[in-house]
């Protein structure tokens, strides 16, 4: 059965592009447009992996990630965070600055180069 990926981003164009690319590579893709919607969808229909944008209104990617990773039920789902270069570069910096233990499983620079994203996904699934 095809693996299910939940794609969370408020940028509709990115969602459209990435969704098509992932589908072409044989993934099942669900979409959420903000943090709350993401949490709801995770509860309803557990995905195999979550691609999460950092910059979103209301609940940002960091917050969503922390909620998911501190919950026993969702802890096991791999999370890839999409971060912008200007904001943040390395994992160490991210964890140091945020003081978060519940780290994401991988980080991909945004805008995502599809090759980088698919490499990261394949490594985690």
């Amino acid at each position: 059965m095809a693996k299910k990926i939940l794609l969370v981003d408020d940028d509709l164009d990115y969602v459209a592009i990435t969704k098509s690319q992932l589908r072409k590579d044989g993934f099942d893709v669900e979409v959420a447009h903000n943090g709350e919607e993401c949490l709801e969808k995770v509860k309803k229909d557990r995905p195999d992996l979550i691609v999460l944008d950092v910059m979103m209104p209301v609940l940002n990617g960091y917050d969503v990630c922390e909620i998911l990773k501190s919950d026993e039920n969702t802890k096991g789902i791999p999370v890839i965070l999409l971060t912008a270069v200007a904001e943040n570069v390395t994992k160490t910096n991210y964890t140091r600055r945020q003081g978060i233990e519940n780290e994401a499983d991988d980080y991909v620079k945004k805008p995502p180069v599809y090759d980088d994203l698919i490499k990261s996904i394949n490594a985690l699934i």
């Binding site: 990115y14 390395t90 945004k110």
Partner: protein
């Protein structure tokens, strides 16, 4: 004075004595004047006459010798005064020498007994005149120095930059008012306070580094922060006769406002770039979707156009990306993560990224690192170093005409690892070479006008290499190709050196 005859004054109330002396002295080539008592003698001085020697009898009517000696010295301090006296008054003669007479001649005397003390007196006068002249010269020099000092002093006081001078033991010799305004701790410190007593470790270490640079003329620069303010400090050794280090001077400029402006500029640039980049990413993404969609049947020409659109969008995104990275480095938001990495793997990655572009231009791109198991390691950020090499190889491809050759080499050299990218392309002049690391700088000539670029690549390269405590050097000549070499500390050196 020199070629004039030496003039001698004889003061005695006895006519015979006066004339006797005159005869002896004149025959020796001296010019002689006489006076019959103290009052008459003083008249001569009042008239402005000068004498090298005065022979003075003690017992005279009107003014006696003792008083005359004192009076004469008011006119002339260097005159050699000789007292003529009878045996009976030797005690008084000794008294007279205490008052300033140089010696005495007991009466009666032979011509020889007269001439010897006169000659001695003249010598003594000569000596004291010479000493006086030397003293005067020294005073003049001191005055000159003092004047120079006060000139410098005024200049230093008026400066809006802070000035700190320390001696070779790092003790403070001088500070100006501006320093005291920057750093209140410096006000009213006792002279020669050690700089380490003030708790400015960054300043202290810069100065001690300066003192240890040797007499080679060098300026060390460092930014130091104090609370909200940032200062640019330039330090230089103070050297005497090109060898001996006397101390060091630090000049401080308050660059806080500049810094603020720079930060505003940087965050603006990064905000704009981020926006630009996400739009470009969307364009690129849609284009690649369209191109990969097999159900669409584009003409060959349309497909070409879309490919070009994609390439241009990508070039623009790379440029914005460079700009963002530079901005992030400048605002201190860019961190690199240095881990042990294999040099050959980094080179291989970068070469793989560029190989297609080189092939299209029929340029031979070779590297000497086939063996990925090769042990040569450095402590570095893999992404950052791939970016560096990718930029260097990309430039080599861009600035080398078709069918050229590019070589990527690496070798260990003592404590360092050298990675070089050499091409046989257009090269550059020394003048151009000096500027290529500047932001937005691009060489303008017939060849480069057809090459797209932003002038940011090497700026980023330089910054990334700096973050690795490395160095980049360029050898190039116009038409002779270019060699860019990066020098990075070898892993043990980076960890423990």
């Amino acid at each position: 004075m020199e070629d004039q005859k030496v003039r001698i004054l004889v003061v005695d109330d006895e006519f015979g004595m006066r004339e006797g002396c005159r005869k002896v002295l004149t025959s020796e080539g001296y010019e002689v004047e006489t006076a019959e008592d103290g009052v008459a003698a003083l008249e001569l001085f009042k008239e402005g006459k000068e004498f090298a020697v005065a022979l003075v009898d003690l017992k005279m009517p009107r003014m006696g010798g003792m008083e005359l000696i004192e009076e004469i010295q008011k006119y002339d301090k260097d005159i050699a005064l000789l007292v003529i006296t009878a045996y009976a008054t030797i005690g008084t003669a000794v008294e007279a020498t205490k008052k300033g007479a140089y010696g005495y001649i007991p009466k009666p005397f032979t011509p020889g007994e007269l001439l010897i003390p006169v000659k001695n007196g003249l010598e003594k006068r000569e000596l004291s005149l010479r000493t006086k002249k030397l003293q005067q010269e020294r005073d003049e020099k001191l005055l000159e120095v003092a004047y120079e000092r006060s000139k410098c002093g005024s200049i230093i006081r008026c400066m809006s930059d802070g000035v700190i001078v320390v001696n070779r033991d790092s003790k403070i010799v001088l500070t100006n008012a501006t320093v005291n305004r920057f750093f209140p701790e410096f006000t009213n410190i006792p002279p020669l306070s050690p700089i380490e007593s003030l708790g400015y470790t960054d300043l202290e270490s810069l100065l001690s580094e300066t003192l240890s640079t040797g007499s080679y003329p060098a300026i060390l620069s460092k930014e130091i922060s104090r609370g909200e303010r940032t200062y640019m400090v330039n330090a230089s050794p103070l050297v005497k006769d090109e060898s001996e280090i006397l101390g060091a001077v630090a000049v401080l400029r308050d660059i806080s406002d500049l810094k603020k402006l720079e930060a505003v500029k940087a965050s603006f640039v990064s905000m704009v770039s981020h926006e630009v980049k996400s739009h470009l990413g969307a364009i690129e993404g849609y284009l690649s979707l369209l191109l990969s969609d097999e159900t669409n049947s584009y003409t060959e020409e349309n497909r070409k156009m879309m490919e070009r659109m994609g390439l241009r969008a990508k070039a623009l995104r790379t440029m914005v990306s460079d700009l963002m990275d530079i901005g992030a480095i400048e605002t201190g938001k860019f961190f690199i993560k240095r881990v042990p990495i294999k040099v050959n793997e980094v080179i291989n990655d970068a070469v793989q990224i560029c190989i297609e572009k080189a092939r299209k231009k029929r340029i031979e791109l070779t590297d000497s690192c086939r063996d990925l198991e090769e042990k040569l390691e450095i402590l570095g950020d893999r992404d950052a170093l791939v970016t560096v090499l990718r930029n260097l190889i990309d430039n080599a491809i861009k600035y080398t005409p078709e069918c050229g050759h590019i070589k990527v080499n690496n070798k260990a050299e003592g404590k360092y690892v050298k990675i070089s990218v050499s091409d046989d392309g257009i090269g550059m002049t020394g003048e151009e070479k000096a500027k290529i690391f500047n932001e937005f700088y691009r060489v303008r000539n017939e060849f480069t006008s057809h090459v797209p670029g932003s002038g940011l690549g090497l700026t980023l390269v330089k910054k990334l290499i700096d973050m690795h405590q490395g160095k980049i050097v360029v050898e190039a000549g116009p038409g002779k190709g270019s060699v860019f070499t990066i020098i990075l500390p070898e892993i043990k050196e980076a960890l423990y050196g």
